[in-house]
Amino acid sequence: MKTIRININGEWKKLKVNPQDRLIDTLRGQLGLTGTKEGCGEGECGACTINLNGKAVLACLILSVQTDESRILTIEGLQKGLELHPLQTAFLNESAVQCGFCTPGMIMAAHAFIRENPEPDMQMVKECLANNLCRCTGYEKPVKAVLAAACSMRETNHD
């Protein structure tokens, strides 16, 4: 067992983890943060996308021990009280959700991306979501939702 310290959705926590535990195991199992999903465990589906030190990464392809002293943001950390994040609102408004399994991953991929590229165009959004598979809605609505969210985040200076 190794002890790590991580900032999870704004709060620093000390955890004991096995060297072979992946971040997705720690998030879902130990921390009960089940918003992050595991689809494939191989880096292909993107359902496990989270933000690590501000960048979109796959929680199934990182060992928890590698995240010592890092900042992690998951879908649970986006909402402030009752107020949804503009990305969440946009996904609802555009009906970009059916079963919702891929949604947390898509939103977290878009969240890191918009911070780096506040004014993305359609092609850039497609690049950003290229690692997120959806088997229900297709991709048109999620792409529209991300564009709409980027727009509303610029207008309201939201991060």
């Binding site: 880096g43 990464v57 796959l58 199934c60 590698q66 690692n131």
Partner: protein, 370 residues
């Protein structure tokens, strides 16, 4: 079909090679089984170490008659290994000490995007007992010196794309390949050193780096040495690195010649999350208006990423026109020795080698005219 035991040299044993006992359990995506088959029939694949990425088992097979069924001899009852340790050294010296201590039981981890997918949710399948994380060694940098451009082995692939050094010729071909490597999300973790050390025959960044005549700085218990990238690759997923060695940086030699280059990657059209069916990098250097050097590098069509040297010679000596391009493309196709796998058949791959070489040389020709 006659069944006979083949004389395969077992170089390394990892987890139980269940895929050897039953073909049905072999995950064809790693293509190991097809590679072993190729080692019996294709000259380019013979006498090279061939490594199964799932089990770590590495075999070297000589000329084995095609009509024999494969059963391996030797001791393949491997030891079940579990990840027992995770180390994050702060210095290169510490890292080498750990490699010397644990030898084949050690595995360096950079971005982890090659090593970790093999777990498939099961950390117990790790083939190494001790993981050594190299992200604390300060090996993420891109520096310009008189010798050329130094790229730290642990530099993330997205950082190559955003670096001004690779935004245009003469070194732009590296960023061109980096942009079509996997996805933005994977590239946030994946490193250039990992891409090379994994030594996949389709590794996207190996192609532009061969076209740029890159060297590698290798570190080990006996110090530092420089090696050219071409001699680094030994076989599919196998490099010249000893268990106690690591890559420190990649050096692209300085050039002041005018160069034109291109990178093309043929993938499956459904998804961007995939390695290539065939990938090709070409690069021509010019002095005044004369072509003084040509590189035609081909991936996913042989045991390793390789330079099609006969095709290069044709381009270097002649005038760059349609006839020369067609001849070079046909020659490059002859130099390729691809496999059938889940992505494409060998025959299709061969055709595509010719097409991609043709297309990328034509793009260069157009650019050279303008």
């Amino acid at each position: 079909m006659s069944r006979q035991k083949i004389h395969a040299q077992v170089i390394r044993i990892g987890n139980p090679p269940f895929c050897l006992k039953s073909y049905r359990q072999c995950r064809g995506c790693f293509g190991w089984r097809n590679m072993i088959r190729a080692a019996r029939s294709k000259a380019a694949w013979q006498d090279r170490p061939i490594k199964c990425l799932l089990t770590g088992l590495t075999l070297k097979i000589g000329g084995i008659p095609e009509d024999t069924d494969l059963i391996t001899g030797g001791n393949t009852d491997a030891i079940q290994l579990k990840s027992r340790g995770f180390h994050k050294p702060g210095t290169i010296e510490e890292t080498i000490d750990l490699l010397v201590k644990y030898q084949r039981d050690a595995c360096l981890i950079a971005g982890g995007t090659d090593i970790l997918p093999r777990h498939q949710g099961d950390g117990n399948r790790l083939t190494a007992g001790h993981l050594i994380d190299i992200s604390g060694l300060g090996l993420d940098y891109i520096q310009n010196t008189d010798a050329g451009i130094h790229i730290g082995a642990a530099t993330r692939i997205n950082d190559l794309i955003s670096s001004p050094v690779f935004s245009s010729e003469p070194y732009g071909v590296l960023a061109e390949a980096a942009r079509v490597h996997s996805t933005h999300t994977i590239r946030n973790r994946a490193t250039i050193g990992g891409n090379l050390c994994n030594a996949s025959p389709c590794a996207d960044l190996a192609l532009p780096l061969l076209a740029l005549d890159a060297y590698l700085v290798i570190l080990g218990p006996n110090g530092k040495h420089l090696i050219d990238l071409e001699s680094f690759f030994q076989g599919p997923n196998c490099t010249i690195l000893e268990p106690d060695q690591m890559m420190q940086e990649i050096l692209i030699p300085f050039t002041n010649h005018l160069a034109l280059s291109g990178f093309l990657k043929l993938g499956r059209h459904q998804t961007k999350i995939d390695t290539a069916i065939v990938n090709v990098a070409t690069r021509l250097s010019f002095k005044e208006n004369d072509c003084i050097d040509a590189r035609i590098v081909i991936g996913s069509a042989g045991p390793m990423v390789f330079r099609a040297k006969k095709a290069e010679a044709l381009i270097k000596t002649g005038i760059l026109d349609d006839d020369a391009i067609n001849l070079a493309a046909g020659t490059a196709m002859q130099e390729a020795s691809p496999l059938d796998d889940i992505r494409a058949s060998a025959a299709y791959r061969k055709e595509m080698v010719a097409e991609l070489v043709k297309e990328s040389l034509k793009i260069i020709m157009k650019r050279s005219l303008s």
